[in-house]
C-alpha cells in the first residue's frame, strides 16, 4: 500500500457504496457536526488550514477558490462537482462515483454550507454509465434520508443536488466550458475575467471543484485540518487518487500518500512493468502533463512540488506507464488526434494549432516527415501557450513539447529514415 489512505480506506464490496454502509463507516457525521457547531466560514478556514489543493489538474488551493465568493452578497451561489472526467489516462473520480458516492455528497454539503449555496450540481460525463447510476441512486438515498433537501438534519440549512449528464465533449471538463454546458449550450469555455467565482453559472458566483477535492473536504472536516496535514508532505498534504494505465501489470486506481516514492509505487503497488520490460516513460497526470522518462522518475516522490521541480505536474492523477520499445512518435500522434478532435474551435490558436500539429504528425508517422517538422511543432506549441481561452490549446502544446524535449531523436530518426525506429509499435500485450 502506497502510504496511508483517507478515501479508499474500506473494503469495496457489492454494497459498500450504499448509504447504510457509508453511515456505518461514520458517514454524514462530519456534516451533522458542522451544521450544529460551526459557522460557514469555519469550514473555509478549516479547508485552508488543511492546505487542500484541487485534485482536478491545476492543484489550486481549494479554500482560496472559495474565498472569492462573498457570503451574504444577496445573490445565489452555486457549487458544481466536476465529474466530467475526460483527461486521457484518468479514471479516478469514477472510482469515487462508483464506490464512495456519499463521500462526494457529504463533501458537497460541507462545501455548499461554506459557500452558502442552496443549489449544487454534479456534472458527470455523458458516457459514464455505472458511475452515473451509482451517484444518482446515492442522491436519491440522501434525499430520502434527509441529507439533501430542506432543513437538513433538522437545521436551517437546505441544499438541493442535481446530477447533470454531459454528452461527449472533453472541453466541457474545463470549468467555464462545463458551466456553458450546464446552461444547456455548446461547451465553449469563457474568457476570464470575470472569474467563475464572481460570475459563473447564469452569471452567479459559482465554485467548480473536482470530485476528489470535494471528497477530501469530507475527510478534512471529519478528521480536522491538523490530522489531514499529518498525511502527505508539508507542501502537498493528503493523498492523491492515481489512476494507472498502460504497460503495467496491475492497472487501476490507487490512493497514494503524497510524498510516496514513485518507483516503489510502480514496482510494488502496481506490480511492475508489463512483461518485465524496462520503463521508458511516464505520463504523470493525464496526457496534458509533460512526459517524464524512466530515468527522471527514479529518485522522485509523488508530490505536487516534486513534479513541479521537473517541469511537470501530477495534474489529474492519470498516470500512463510506457514500456521500452514503444514508439513515441505514434503516441504523440494519438494524443494530438485527441486534442484536434476535442478542440471546441472557438479561439484561433487552438482551432488551427491542434489540427496543424495533428496533420504534421500524421505525415511523419506515414513516413513523409520533413526536417523542419520538429521546429514547426515547437512553433505551434509555443504560440498556443498562454494565447488560448482555456487550457486545451496549451495542453496540446505541452504534450507535444514534452515528448519532443525528451524523445527528439526518435522523431529525427522517423523523419530521416521514413519509418519509426520501433515500427510504430505502441502496444505491449500481456506476455
Amino acid at each position: 500500500m502506497a502510504g496511508r489512505q483517507l478515501l479508499m480506506n474500506f473494503p469495496v464490496t457489492a454494497t459498500s457504496h450504499t448509504l447504510a454502509e457509508y453511515r456505518a463507516r461514520g458517514g454524514y457525521a462530519a456534516i451533522d457536526r458542522t451544521l450544529r457547531t460551526l459557522k460557514p466560514q469555519d469550514v473555509t478556514q478549516e479547508v485552508l488550514a488543511a492546505g487542500l489543493q484541487g485534485r482536478g489538474g491545476a492543484s489550486f488551493p481549494t479554500g482560496r477558490k472559495w474565498q472569492v465568493v462573498v457570503p451574504g452578497d444577496g445573490q445565489p451561489h452555486y457549487l458544481i462537482a466536476n465529474a466530467d472526467e475526460g483527461e486521457p489516462g484518468t479514471f479516478k473520480d469514477r472510482w469515487i462515483l462508483e464506490n464512495a458516492p456519499h463521500l462526494l455528497i457529504e463533501g458537497m454539503l460541507l462545501t455548499a454550507y461554506a459557500l452558502e449555496a442552496r443549489h449544487c450540481f454534479i456534472y458527470i460525463r455523458g458516457e459514464f454509465d455505472l458511475p452515473y447510476r451509482r451517484i444518482a441512486a446515492a442522491v436519491e438515498e440522501a434525499y430520502a434520508a434527509g441529507w439533501l433537501g430542506s432543513r437538513i438534519a433538522g437545521t436551517d440549512f437546505s441544499c438541493d443536488l442535481i446530477v447533470y449528464r454531459g454528452a461527449g465533449a472533453y472541453v466541457a471538463g474545463e470549468a467555464s466550458g462545463l458551466i456553458a454546458s450546464l446552461e444547456g449550450k455548446k461547451g465553449y469555455p469563457r474568457n476570464r475575467p470575470p472569474r467563475l467565482t464572481v460570475k459563473g453559472l447564469y452569471q452567479r458566483p459559482t465554485v467548480v471543484n473536482n470530485v476528489e477535492s470535494l471528497a477530501n473536504v469530507t475527510v478534512v472536516m471529519r478528521d480536522g485540518a491538523a490530522a489531514f496535514r499529518t498525511v502527505g508532505t508539508e507542501k502537498s498534504p493528503g493523498t492523491r487518487l492515481i489512476s494507472v494505465s498502460g504497460h503495467i501489470n496491475r492497472p487501476g486506481v490507487y490512493e497514494v500518500e503524497l510524498g510516496f516514492p514513485w518507483r516503489r509505487f510502480i514496482d510494488e503497488d502496481c506490480g511492475g512493468m508489463l512483461g518485465g520490460r524496462a520503463l521508458k516513460a511516464i505520463v504523470p497526470g493525464g496526457i496534458s502533463s509533460r512526459v517524464l522518462t524512466g530515468a527522471d522518475i527514479g529518485p522522485l516522490a509523488l508530490s505536487h512540488e516534486a513534479l513541479w521541480d521537473v517541469n511537470s505536474t501530477l495534474g489529474s492523477g492519470g498516470m500512463i506507464v510506457i514500456a521500452e520499445g514503444t514508439c513515441m512518435v505514434r503516441l504523440l500522434h494519438i494524443m494530438m488526434r485527441f486534442y484536434h478532435h476535442e478542440s471546441c474551435g472557438q479561439c484561433t490558436p487552438c482551432r488551427h494549432g491542434t489540427g496543424w500539429m495533428h496533420r504534421i504528425l500524421e505525415r511523419i508517422v506515414a513516413g513523409q516527415g520533413r526536417p523542419e517538422d520538429i521546429e514547426r511543432l515547437y512553433y505551434i506549441a509555443k504560440y498556443n501557450d498562454g494565447t488560448t481561452i482555456c487550457g486545451l490549446g496549451d495542453a496540446a502544446g505541452y504534450a507535444a513539447a514534452g515528448i519532443l524535449d525528451k524523445f527528439r531523436d526518435e522523431f529525427e530518426y522517423c523523419i530521416e529514415h521514413k519509418r519509426s525506429r520501433y515500427e510504430g509499435r505502441i502496444e505491449c500485450l500481456r506476455s
Binding site: A169, K186, N191, P193, H340, H341, E342, S343, C344, G345, Q346, C347, T348, P349, R351, H352, G353, T354, G355, W356, R359, I360, R363, R370, R376, Y379, K382, Y383, G386, T387, T388, I389
Partner: protein, 476 residues
C-alpha cells in the same frame, strides 16, 4: 480615472474600460477581428494580444484597466504573437483575394501586410469547406474564408435578435449555419453581417463580383425608407473609373449601400431596405414636362402653372414628406402665402415589409414627415370644399380622391400613370441628384449629398417653386 501607461505614454482611462478601449481612445491602434464596440466581447480571434509588463500576454479586449499597469502593444513578443495568430488564421484560409469581393477592405488582408507579410509556414493541405452556402436570398457564405470571429452570430443574437445563425460542429471544421426553421431571410437587418464580417466570408449576392471596391467611392446620404432617417453611404463609381465602353449606366448607379455610423440615429446599422435604395432611386424616370399628358417645354409648363395659380381661389398644396428641409423652406418662401399646405404621406409599408420594431424600423415610411409637420398639418381625408387647384408634390397621392373639377399641378420624379392626368406635370430631381437635409422622427437633422447628375429633364423642386412664384429662367 485610472492612469495607465501604453507603450510608455500616459493614458487616462475610465474605470471599467478595457485596455483595448483605452488604447483606441488614445489613438493607439490594436488590431482585432472579433471585437466590435456594439457586440459582446467574444475574445476568440486573439489578435489583440498585448503585453502587460510583469504579467505577460493577454487579450486587450477583455482586459480591464488597472491603475499603473504598463501595456505594450508593439513589443517584440507581441509582434511575434501577432505573426503567429495570422499564421494560424490563414492556415486553412484560401487566400483567394484575387476573386474575393472583400479584397481592398479586408481586415485579414490589411493585417497580413501590416503585421506578417510572410508566406504560410504550413505545407499541409488546407481543410476544405463549403464555398457558396446560401444563407438567404441575399447573403452567400464562404466557409473557407470564415475565421469564426462570430460577429455574425452575435449580431443575430444580440442586435437583430432573429437568432438565425449559429455554429455547427466544433474544432477546425466548425461552420456558421442558419437555423433550419427560421431562415436568415426573415431578418430585416441581415445584411449588416456582411459589413461586420472582417473577411470575405459573407458576401452580398446583389454586389457579388460586380466591381472591385477600389473603383468605388461613397457619398454620405440619408435613407429615405422610414422616419428613422439612418445615415448611409451610397457607393458608386469614382469619376476617374467611369466606364465608357461598357454599360455607362453603371456610372450613375448605386453599387451598394452601407451604414454611415451615427450614434444619434442608427449606430452602425441599417436595415435591408436601406441596402436596396437602388430599387427606389433607379426606377424609370418621368421624361419631361407635360400639359394634360402632352409633352411640353419647361417654359410652357411653368407658364401654364402660373396661370392656374393666378386664377385659383382656393389653392391647396400636398407637400411631399420626402422633401428636404431646404425644399420646404423654398416652398414656404415662394408659395407659402398662396397655398394652404398639408403634409402628404408619400410612401406606405409594402406588403411583407416589417412595419415597426424597437431597433430602427419606423412605421412612417417617409424620411421627412417631421420636417414637413413643423410647417404644415396632416392632409385631411377630404380636401376643403371649394378647393379648385391642387399642387401635388411627390408620390402617394390618390388622384381619384382629389376634389372633382380641381386642376392639378403635379411634381414627380418617376414615371407614373398619374403624370399624364395632371393639368401641368413637372419632373423633379431625386435625392441622389441634390443635397439637403431631413429631420427624423425624433428631431435629428441629417444631411445627404448629391452624387449623380440630374436625370434628363429633371428640375430641382426648389427652382420650380421659385419659378412658379414669378417668371425666371430655369435650367433643366
Amino acid at each position: 480615472m485610472p492612469e495607465i501607461l501604453i507603450n510608455g505614454r500616459k493614458v487616462e482611462a475610465r474605470a471599467g474600460q478595457t485596455v483595448l478601449e483605452a488604447a483606441r481612445e488614445a489613438g493607439i491602434f490594436v488590431p482585432t477581428f472579433c471585437w466590435h464596440p456594439q457586440l459582446s466581447t467574444a475574445g476568440n480571434c486573439r489578435m489583440c494580444l498585448v503585453e502587460v509588463e510583469g504579467r505577460g500576454l493577454d487579450i486587450a479586449c477583455n482586459m480591464p484597466v488597472s491603475a499603473g499597469m504598463h501595456v505594450l502593444t508593439d513589443s517584440p513578443d507581441v509582434q511575434a504573437h501577432r505573426r503567429a495568430m495570422l499564421q494560424f488564421i490563414t492556415l486553412n484560409h484560401p487566400v483567394d483575394c484575387g476573386i474575393c469581393d472583400k479584397a481592398g477592405e479586408c481586415s485579414l488582408q490589411d493585417y497580413h501586410y501590416a503585421y506578417n507579410g510572410q508566406p504560410s509556414l504550413s505545407v499541409e493541405p488546407k481543410v476544405r469547406s463549403t464555398k457558396y452556402y446560401n444563407l438567404s436570398s441575399r447573403i452567400l457564405l464562404d466557409n473557407e474564408r470564415c475565421i469564426l470571429c462570430l460577429r455574425c452570430t452575435r449580431f443575430t443574437h444580440e442586435v437583430s435578435k432573429s437568432m438565425a445563425l449559429g455554429v455547427e460542429s466544433r474544432g477546425d471544421v466548425s461552420v456558421i449555419r442558419p437555423v433550419a426553421d427560421r431562415p436568415l431571410g426573415e431578418d430585416p437587418y441581415s445584411d449588416n453581417i456582411i459589413d461586420l464580417c472582417p473577411v470575405g466570408a459573407l458576401q452580398s449576392r446583389q454586389f457579388l463580383h460586380k466591381t472591385r471596391v477600389w473603383y468605388l467611392e461613397a457619398t454620405p446620404s440619408v435613407c429615405p425608407g422610414c422616419a428613422r432617417g439612418c445615415t448611409v453611404q451610397l457607393w458608386h463609381r469614382k469619376r476617374e473609373w467611369h466606364v465608357k465602353a461598357l454599360d455607362p449606366a453603371q456610372n450613375a448607379s448605386i453599387a451598394r449601400v452601407t451604414p454611415l455610423e451615427n450614434p444619434a440615429v442608427n449606430g452602425p446599422w441599417i436595415c435591408n431596405k436601406g441596402r436596396d435604395l437602388a430599387k427606389i432611386f433607379e426606377r424609370k424616370r418621368a421624361a419631361g414636362p407635360m400639359l394634360l399628358g402632352a409633352p411640353a417645354t419647361l417654359e410652357a409648363a411653368l407658364e401654364r402653372a402660373r396661370e392656374l395659380i393666378g386664377a385659383a381661389r382656393h389653392p391647396v398644396a400636398l407637400v411631399s414628406s420626402w422633401g428636404s428641409n431646404e425644399e420646404f423652406a423654398a416652398f414656404q418662401r415662394y408659395l407659402g402665402a398662396v397655398f394652404t399646405g398639408y403634409v402628404k404621406c408619400d410612401a406606405r409599408p409594402e406588403p411583407g415589409e416589417r412595419i415597426e420594431d424597437d431597433l430602427l424600423i419606423r412605421a412612417d415610411k417617409n424620411p421627412n414627415s417631421a420636417g414637413a409637420r413643423a410647417l404644415y398639418g396632416d392632409a385631411p381625408d377630404e380636401l376643403p370644399e371649394g378647393t379648385d387647384l391642387v399642387l401635388v408634390w411627390g408620390e402617394g397621392c390618390d388622384f381619384g380622391a382629389l376634389p372633382r373639377g380641381a386642376n392639378v399641378i403635379f411634381l414627380n420624379a418617376y414615371l407614373a400613370p398619374e403624370n399624364g392626368h395632371a393639368a401641368v406635370f413637372l419632373p423633379t430631381t431625386i435625392q441622389t441628384e441634390r443635397s439637403g437635409h431631413y429631420t427624423n422622427f425624433c428631431g435629428v437633422v441629417s444631411g445627404f449629398q448629391r452624387c449623380f447628375e440630374p436625370a434628363a429633364g429633371a428640375v430641382d423642386a426648389e427652382a420650380l417653386f421659385r419659378a412658379l412664384a414669378a417668371p425666371a429662367r430655369v435650367h433643366a
